[in-house]
């Protein structure tokens, strides 16, 4: 069980609304997006698969290179692949823009 945190201080655009997608099934994850209270974005991941901090960092570095929302992201993860993670993040972004 690991708790992983990241901070992206440059992401400051106000979020239109919050979002939640996904189910914590085997090989899957859920993610919620909420407006962050302070400047920048915060990511908090609870994962049952240990040892992939660098992979998560790479995924989020890539995500925040295109996304600039001031968001608190929380993830409960049961082994989603990086591809699945990006897909869920994109679904969440879509939901925030509805």
């Amino acid at each position: 069980m690991e708790q992983i945190e990241f901070h992206y201080p440059a992401a400051r655009r106000a979020l239109k609304q919050r979002a939640h997608v996904g189910v914590v099934g085997s090989g899957d994850m859920e993610v919620s997006f909420e407006p962050s209270a302070q400047d920048g974005a915060h990511v908090s991941i609870t994962t049952s698969v240990n040892g992939y901090r660098d992979t998560w960092k790479a995924v989020f570095d890539r995500f925040f290179s295109r996304f600039d929302g001031a968001v608190n992201i929380h993830i409960n993860d049961a082994g989603a692949t990086p591809g699945s993670v990006l897909l869920r993040l994109e679904q969440a972004v879509e939901e925030t823009e509805q």
Binding site: H20, V23, V24, E30, T46, A78
Partner: protein
């Protein structure tokens, strides 16, 4: 042949079984009347799962939606089958009991509030064992309170079905709606094979499984009320009808003498042919056996 204008009903039909627990619950309500309570942003999670290296879910696998169905107040409690097999833990059980009890309070105060239970569950979450089991006893108790004032409608769609202690929740409900794909039973095929051997139940025999536990069989036997196709509209309209119908004249789980006699009449000397039993009980029902 072109495909223009060729649109068979099954293509147009929106599948219910493909929806997750949250979408299934929302689909039942009148437009713009539904609100989720203690939802994912509230993070009411299991304290026990992380202690065992299992990732929790922010709603603990139980979704509660309050709103109106056919203009009448209703609450839907939906179990997410993809999270821990829809199993009942401390928090998911507490959410279910709380929602049922609040519906009872409203009902007693003059605002009858039906409960729709979307049961996609294997029963107790073993990682929370005794708190899960205690919660199920409380769910049963709370259904029995509410059903005196407003209908409690269990919907079983699949693919998990409704097994374990939660099958008793289905058993004490006012009405049970099942899809053909759905299954309902106290013990699933795997646990029977495990406890009593492959001769007793071959868990790989899918035809046997649906012949005994499947929606068509359960409805045919009079142990569930309506068989519905895999369509959001069909499930929604069945639920609306039962919400509007209100309380049944008598509850299935109160019909003790009737079922005691049927069990006494069973030939237990060999395995029972499910189709033959279905025919037998169906003909007894039509002679005025049950409602």
């Amino acid at each position: 042949m072109t495909t223009t204008g060729f649109s068979p009903l099954f293509v147009q039909r929106k599948s219910f079984i493909e929806l997750n627990g949250r979408r299934r619950a929302y689909a039942l309500f009148d437009e713009n009347t539904a609100t989720e309570l203690v939802g994912p942003f509230d993070r009411a999670e299991s304290p026990w799962l992380p202690m065992q290296g299992v990732a929790p879910q922010s709603d603990d696998g139980c979704i509660v939606i309050k709103g109106k169905i056919s203009g009448k107040p209703a609450v839907a409690i939906s179990l997410e089958g993809a999270f821990q097999g829809g199993s009942i833990g401390e928090v998911s059980g507490a959410k279910m009991v709380a929602a049922l009890d609040l519906a009872t309070i409203d009902s007693k105060a003059g605002k009858p509030t039906a409960a729709i239970l979307l049961l996609e569950t294997g029963g107790v979450r073993l990682q929370e064992a005794n708190l899960g089991l205690a919660a199920i006893a409380e769910v049963i108790a709370s259904i029995l309170e509410l059903r005196q004032h407003a209908p409690v409608i269990t919907v079983i769609a699949g693919t998990v079905g409704c097994f374990g202690g939660m099958a008793l929740a289905a058993g004490v409900s006012s009405y049970v709606v099942m899809m053909r794909e759905a299954r309902l039973g106290l013990n699933g095929p795997e646990v029977i094979e495990q406890e009593s051997g492959k001769d007793e139940f071959d868990a790989s025999d899918r035809a046997l499984i649906w012949a005994i536990h499947g929606g068509e069989q359960r409805v045919g036997m009079g142990l569930a009320d309506e068989l519905v196709e895999d369509s959001v509209d069909a499930i929604g309209s069945a639920v609306q009808r039962f919400v509007t119908a209100g309380k049944p004249a008598q509850h299935r789980s109160e019909q003790v003498e009737l079922y005691r006699q049927r069990i006494a009449d069973l030939d237990s000397s060999r395995q029972i042919d499910p189709l033959a039993l279905r025919e037998q009980w169906r003909s007894l029902d039509s002679k005025g056996g049950t409602r």
